[in-house]
């Protein structure tokens, strides 16, 4: 019983982090219908930025997360202006080409700069453990899971309860109409890219506290993000939140009760089954 609880808590904490980096992907995917193949590599960039902040500035968790968020926000907007804006209205396949190229570029730039060797965050601030009743969790996992949940909720609130958010959604709904209302779609879309990248960066910094860092780490995270986004419904942040938590939970329980090799089988099979029943994903309020 205690073990079962341990499995569930661990799965949910990891799922919260999945939810955070997937929420960025779902935002731009749903809003602009652009598939970002480089999203996992944005997370990787966040991890390395956090690493540099710790090594150079001896930064604490709040600072290195902030650094990763700020720099990736800038990077996200730059990617929008430099790349996405130019291919966005083109055929879907050229978007795929461009973000795939970007993914390779990011991944192997990291490879060049940091070499292929694995590193971990040299921090001791979050290395302890916390007892939640009978359940033991790492402080880092707890902080990361909690922060991710709050930030994902914050992202949802930003989109639904602020003027800025409604402007972003308005552009997503109907670009022309939004322009007539005096909204500048370019700025809103750049903002959305910045937010998405920042979410990925924060997620990267949070994951780095309990995970290893390597140039290719984004690859497996990207597949998770794709599944979470489709599972939850493209463009739905609450959908990503629910799907992220659900996938974390399913992975943990199936890994424990069925076998670690089959956890992805369960996730993918469930995903295909859900799409069969609900072709628009769990919360597919298509934007």
């Amino acid at each position: 019983m205690i073990v079962a609880l341990q499995v569930v808590v661990g799965g949910l904490l990891l799922g919260a982090v999945y939810a955070l980096f997937s929420s960025g992907l779902t935002l731009i995917w749903g809003m602009m219908n652009v598939v970002n193949f480089a999203h996992g590599d944005f997370v990787m960039a966040g991890m390395y930025l956090a690493f540099l902040a710790v090594v150079w500035l001896r930064a604490g968790p709040a600072v290195f997360t902030g650094v990763a968020a700020a720099l990736l926000f800038l990077f996200g907007t730059a990617v929008y202006y430099g790349l996405v804006r130019r291919v966005m209205r083109g055929p879907v396949l050229s978007q795929i080409l461009s973000t795939f190229g970007l993914a390779l570029l990011l991944r192997y730039s990291a490879f060049w700069i940091f070499s292929a060797n694995f590193v971990t965050l040299p921090t001791v601030a979050l290395s302890g453990t916390v007892h939640l009743g009978p359940v033991v969790v790492g402080t880092a996992q707890l902080v990361a899971g909690g922060a991710a949940l709050l930030l994902t909720a914050g992202m949802h609130r930003l989109l639904t309860a602020t003027a800025l958010g409604s402007q972003i959604l308005a552009v997503a709904e109907d670009r022309q109409a939004a322009m007539l209302m005096g909204i500048r779609p370019d700025r809103m879309q750049a903002l959305a890219w910045g937010l998405a990248a920042a979410a990925a960066g924060i997620a990267g910094a949070l994951i780095a506290t309990f995970y290893y860092i390597s140039p290719t780490v984004g690859e497996s995270l990207a597949i998770i993000a794709f599944v979470v986004v489709a599972f939850g419904g493209f463009g739905s942040v609450p959908g990503a939140m629910v799907a992220g938590l659900l996938i974390g939970l399913i992975e943990a329980t199936s890994a424990f009760y069925i076998g670690p090799v089959y956890k992805d089988v369960v996730v993918y099979a469930l995903f295909v089954a859900i799409l069969w029943v609900r072709p628009q994903g769990l919360m597919g309020a298509r934007l």
């Binding site: 080409l97 461009s98 390779l104 192997y108 986004v229 992805d264």
Partner: protein, 327 residues
């Protein structure tokens, strides 16, 4: 336009004679192999606009069956080729019915999920060699093993298959099916309202695409002599087909061949130039070129060709329609 086609055919037939050295012969053969799989993907992903990221499952079926025939019964791998195509069509039938209810990205994601599912299952299936993979004959016992020392024989086999595939595609392009698929691509709902039996024709496209992708997989196995879950069913196998077709121009007859003719030498030279240094510069170079191409010509290289260099572009090259976004 016929003389151009004839010239292309003559060039293709003569290429291995004009180029010396077995490494270059191999590069030429690989170009054709990649062109076959990308052209097969193109029928569904390009013409019908159903962007699949899971074609590795068909490729893998085609690669695994000949290897299985060899490892189980020591029979010639070629005997497994029809089996591979049959398995591939079986998967397509099971997959096509439910997933074609899905639109746009949901379809793409479902194909990734199914392909990954199959990869993991095969990776744990002892009959199929599990994680270790299966091997073909290392040295040919008879001609039927199709194990040649040089790559020229493979080149001509691949050329024959590619010619057949492109011939079928060209015929399809001009037939009713071609019009239906283009209608589906530019908007399925609209196509349906015009009386196009969309579901049925998408399935036809899937079957044709799956059969030839499986054939490409079989040819891969025969040439490489080895397949494991990553090289036969990995997501990169699927992604390569998409990238090659998109680069050359998806939904055009010769786009995938052009994409392969550019990308494969680029990959190989990039690796020769930068690979030995071990800095990952190969991929930086490769990624950079892909970005530049996508920025300057969203319709693929064939569109550049057609617009800038051959304004009178032939009928056989298809119209420069480009792909509109699905959904």
């Amino acid at each position: 336009m016929r003389w151009r086609l004839a010239l292309l055919a003559a060039a293709a037939l003569a290429a291995p004679l004009l180029v010396q050295g077995s490494f270059y012969h191999r590069v030429l053969a690989l170009i054709l192999l990649v062109a076959i799989s990308a052209s097969a993907w193109n029928i569904l992903g390009g013409y019908a606009g159903q962007v699949s990221f899971g074609h590795a499952m068909f490729f893998g079926a085609g690669a695994y069956m000949p290897a299985l025939v060899y490892s189980q019964w020591h029979a010639a791998p070629a005997l497994g080729v029809p089996l591979g195509v049959a398995v591939s069509l079986g998967i397509a039938a099971v997959l096509g019915v439910p997933t074609f209810r899905l639109q746009g990205h949901y379809f793409s994601m479902a194909t990734i999920a199914v392909a990954e599912l199959i990869r993991i299952l095969v990776g744990n299936w002892r009959l199929l060699g599990a994680a270790v993979g299966l091997q073909g004959p290392a040295t040919g016992r008879t001609l039927w093993d199709l194990t040649f020392r040089g790559s020229v024989s493979y080149y001509y086999i691949f050329l024959g298959v590619l010619a057949a595939l492109l011939g079928i595609t060209a015929a399809m392009e001009r037939s009713r099916m071609g019009y239906y698929l283009r209608a589906i691509r530019s908007g399925e709902r609209a196509a349906r309202s015009l009386g196009v039996p969309a579901r049925r024709y998408k399935l036809y496209a899937l079957f044709l695409s799956a059969a030839f992708t499986a054939l490409a997989g079989s040819l891969y196995l025969v040439m490489i002599g080895f397949v494991d879950p990553d090289s036969g069913l990995g997501i990169l196998v699927s992604v390569q087909m998409v990238i090659v077709a998109a680069l050359g121009g998806a939904g055009t007859l010769f786009g995938p061949l052009l994409g392969a003719a550019i990308l494969i030498p680029l990959q190989q030279t990039g690796n020769v130039l930068f690979g030995g240094g071990g800095t990952g510069a190969t991929y930086i170079f490769y990624g950079g070129i892909i970005i530049v191409l996508s920025l300057f010509e969203p319709g693929g290289l064939l569109a550049i060709w057609r617009e800038r260099l051959a304004p009178l572009g032939g009928r056989w090259a298809g119209r420069p329609k480009g792909l509109r976004r699905a959904a």
